[in-house]
């Protein structure tokens, strides 16, 4: 059983794995699609939504996450020009922005609680805000993991193709959760 295949030069093919990230994005989209369709059916059958003025913090966090997407985009550009130093700075900046985003989300929940719109609520539409923003935050944690992966790739001495692969999957996922948040925020704004 110790036969091994005839070893050719090891070639790294990122395509199938990048595709995996895309498929994950699809399944995650479906999950949030499930949540928002729950909300739509709920609103249609009960004739009421969350009925809140959403805390301003959500606006700030939206800007922060857009900013983090921009820094990540710059990081990708820098890597393409083999400018590793700026790439690292931009990646770290993205991580910091992600942490700020998380902090603002927590403060937004704090604001909601102060106004009496708590998680445990007789209006499930209000509980819903916590659930989707909370699950989105879980995605942020995973995204930060991928950014750290790209960072580690940038520091380590690995082939450029692998550095690029790590950077790319971090970008795909991060831009996705950026757009996802904008979708959720706009959804909540439009479906009071």
């Amino acid at each position: 059983m110790s036969l091994t295949m005839e070893n050719k030069q090891d070639i790294f093919d990122p395509r199938p794995r990048k595709f995996i990230v895309w498929l994950f994005v699809v399944s995650s989209t479906i999950m949030f699609g499930g949540f928002t369709s729950y909300y739509l059916v709920f609103v249609a059958s009960k004739g009421k939504g969350h009925g809140l003025v959403l805390p301003d913090a959500f606006i700030y966090s939206t800007f922060v996450i857009i900013a983090s997407s921009i820094t990540l985009m710059i990081a990708s550009r820098c890597l393409r020009k083999s400018n590793f130093k700026t790439q690292r700075v931009m990646l770290w900046l993205s991580v910091i922005l992600a942490v700020v985003f998380g902090f603002i989300q927590f403060s937004a929940w704090g604001n909601l609680v102060k106004t009496g719109a708590t998680l445990v609520n007789n209006n499930a539409a209000i509980s819903f805000i916590y659930i989707v923003s909370g699950l989105h935050l879980f995605h942020i944690i995973a995204g930060v993991g991928l950014i750290f992966n790209a960072l580690a790739g940038s520091y380590k001495n690995i082939p450029l193709a692998k550095k690029e692969y790590r950077m790319e999957i971090a970008s795909i996922f991060w831009h996705f959760i950026d757009i996802l948040w904008i979708y959720l925020y706009v959804f909540l704004l439009l479906n009071r």
Binding site: L3, L23, Y38
Partner: protein, 626 residues
């Protein structure tokens, strides 16, 4: 970009998989080899199937002899069978866990997990999955999910008992029944892990099929097994996340006090604070997964049956393209029919009508498949291997269970038959028995590929006939109970006057179930004995065309020594007129089969057609003979 060019030359080996040393742990436990992971899924699936079958025998005993005491049950089950009679709470736990294990752990993970893992890389010509690591993780998430589900038998309040569909409010209120306590929490955790496992698997399968096919293997040269696994994986990716969404909300309702599914509930004398939710919303989220789920269960079995029947009829599968399009049709339609599970929820009749129409349309692709299977058998040179018998068995169950689907798809009939034994009979035939027969066909057929040995065919025949006959004897009578209005999930038929007359039928069904269960001993013995002592398999024991049989019997990491073979033709060139043998593997180029080439083989390539015509002109005798 340079990687793209190199790929075609070198069949892209995995960078991190070229040459590592195998230890006991990396080979058998945390294996990243798709063939080993397939075996892990299969053996775990078999163990779970035996457990779920055992649970069904327990509740069948209760149904047949509700008033009789069986002291051995108390010995086994302790307080859940005090006085030798299964308690009503435990009865509900039994049916719930039986359903959950069979649908999710056996027929989803055990079936897709085993055969997608084994066959996708081998039949499309890849070294391994797109991400072997994710693949390994997929198995271990599945294993953890199984363990947590089984662990719920060992807690004070027992396993989840709200039925495999765990409808709230019953499942959402821990104080409602014992089974809605910790057992339900464990069910939900187990299910989240299971969904994570399925998604990791499914994502991997799709990426592998789309990106890693060998040279020449275009989509229309893929065996139907691969098409089926591919579409099944897509179904899973698109539907399982919705179940997660539903489960997350249920977890919050249960453990944090939200009201997503709860409203206006009075428990005894206390009024619960929950307000404003709707349990119907759970049903929508659940069945949006739940209906595609039944196709996730049956489609891999269909793919396996198509392949096994073509090989053993020594004929091309009838209507290859129609088979693929019908699978695609089923995939698309399966997302549009979930409402047929909810006709009695007070659904708008117009909406019910829409769901009824979409449901009945599914009969079209299903019938296409059935007729194509029959046409494949017709005038075939049939070899009745055990795998072939099980594949034919699948067709039989699919027809007899599918016909009642047309009844149940009609809203007006379903309102009467809903939640009766008629439904139980229907789905146990069409997705239960049919899918398990597909899985068994696959085990018998690809056992030599998995273990390098053959299973004993005589025991296989014994297994088939006993199981086939007993399964019909179990499920066929249940139709009549259902037509008489006997509801499913009821604990004792002695409690209601109109159900008493069915007690004798229940005794008969239970005996049949016991025979069916005993028949599995023949399989289990055959399976485990043959792993170690079976006849050594040759490389291509069934004389099949697909790529996996060009790989050496001995498993090696990377599947083929040296180059991955190139594919030149579709996988169903069996008994091709003009050819000496009765099968032409996919790796044989047309230049080696001049006497059997047909004009449409060249897909309009004028150069190839010219060469063929020249050859035919030069060899008139051989051509005339054809």
């Amino acid at each position: 970009m340079s990687t793209l060019v190199l790929n075609d030359e070198h069949n892209h080996d995995h960078a991190d998989h070229g040459h590592h040393k195998e230890t006991l742990i990396s080979k058998y436990i945390f294996s990243m080899d798709h063939k080993m992971i397939a075996k892990q899924f299969l053996i775990t699936g078999i163990i779970m199937a035996v457990i779920a079958m055992f649970l069904s025998i327990l509740f069948r005993i209760q149904l047949a002899w509700p008033d009789k005491s069986f002291p051995f049950l108390e010995t086994f089950l302790g307080k859940w069978a005090e006085g030798g009679r299964i308690k009503s709470d435990f009865y509900l736990a039994l049916v719930t866990i039986h359903g959950t294990i069979m649908v999710f752990f056996v027929l989803t993970a055990g079936l897709s997990g085993t055969f997608s893992n084994l066959l996708i890389p081998l039949q499309i010509g890849a070294r391994d999955m797109a991400s072997p690591f994710l693949n390994m993780l997929s198995y271990w998430f599945f294993f953890t999910a199984c363990s947590i589900m089984m662990a719920s038998f060992f807690i004070q309040t027992g396993p989840a008992s709200a039925g495999w569909t765990v409808y709230p409010p019953l499942s959402a209120l821990p104080q409602a029944i014992p089974g809605s306590g910790l057992g339900m929490t464990m069910w939900l955790i187990s299910m989240v892990l299971f969904v994570a496992s399925s998604l990791m698997g499914g994502i991997n399968y799709v990426s592998t099929i789309l990106n890693m096919r060998t040279k020449g293997m275009d989509l229309w040269k893929m065996p139907l097994t691969i098409w089926a696994f591919f579409l099944t994986a897509i179904l899973g990716i698109l539907s399982f996340p919705v179940l997660v969404a539903g489960v997350v909300l249920l977890i919050f309702d249960r453990s944090f006090g939200t009201s997503f599914y709860l409203s206006d509930i009075v428990m005894g004398t206390t009024i619960l604070p929950n307000e404003g939710g709707s349990p119907i919303l759970w049903q929508h989220l659940f069945w949006f997964l739940g209906h595609p789920e039944v196709y996730i269960v049956i489609m891999p079995a269909m793919g396996i049956a198509s392949e096994v029947m073509a090989v053993n009829s020594r004929k091309p599968i009838f209507g290859y393209h129609a088979m693929v399009y019908s699978l695609i049709g089923i995939t698309v339609l399966s997302f549009l029919v979930w409402g047929h599970h909810m006709f009695v929820t007070g659904m708008n009749p117009l909406l019910g009508g829409v769901f009824m129409v979409t449901t009945l349309i599914i009969a079209v692709p299903s019938a296409v498949k059935t007729f194509n299977w029959l046409a494949t058998l017709w005038r075939g040179n049939i070899r009745f291997t055990p795998a072939m018998l099980f594949a034919i068995g699948l067709v039989s169950f699919f027809i007899s269970g599918g016909l009642t689907g047309i009844w149940l798809g009609n809203a007006s009939l379903d309102i009467t038959l809903h939640d009766t034994y008629f439904v139980v009979a229907h789905f146990h035939l069409v997705m239960g028995s049919a899918a398990i027969f597909g899985m068994l066909a696959g085990v018998y057929h690809w056992f030599p590929k998995m273990f390098g040995r053959m299973m004993n065919p005589k025991l296989g025949y014994l297994h088939f006939w006993l199981t086939f006959v007993a399964a019909y004897l179990v499920f066929f009578p249940l139709h009549f109970l259902g037509l008489d209005g006997v509801p499913r999930r009821y604990y004792a038929f002695t409690e209601f006057e109109f159900m008493k007359k069915w007690l004798t039928v229940n005794v008969f069904v239970t005996w049949s179930a016991i025979v069916a269960a005993l028949a599995q001993v023949a399989f289990l013995f055959n399976f485990f004995y043959s792993i170690f002592r079976g006849k050594i398999a040759t490389q291509n024991p069934w004389e099949a065309n697909t790529l996996e049989w060009t790989a050496p019997v001995e498993h090696l990491h990377g599947n083929w020594p040296g180059e991955i073979p190139t594919v030149y033709r579709w996988p169903y060139d069996y008994s091709k007129p003009g050819d000496e043998g009765d099968f032409i593997p996919q790796t044989v180029p047309f230049s080696q089969t001049m006497s059997s080439n047909l004009p449409h083989d060249f897909e309009g390539n004028p150069e190839a057609e010219r060469i063929q015509l020249e050859w035919e002109a030069a060899n008139p005798v051989i051509v005339d003979k054809v």
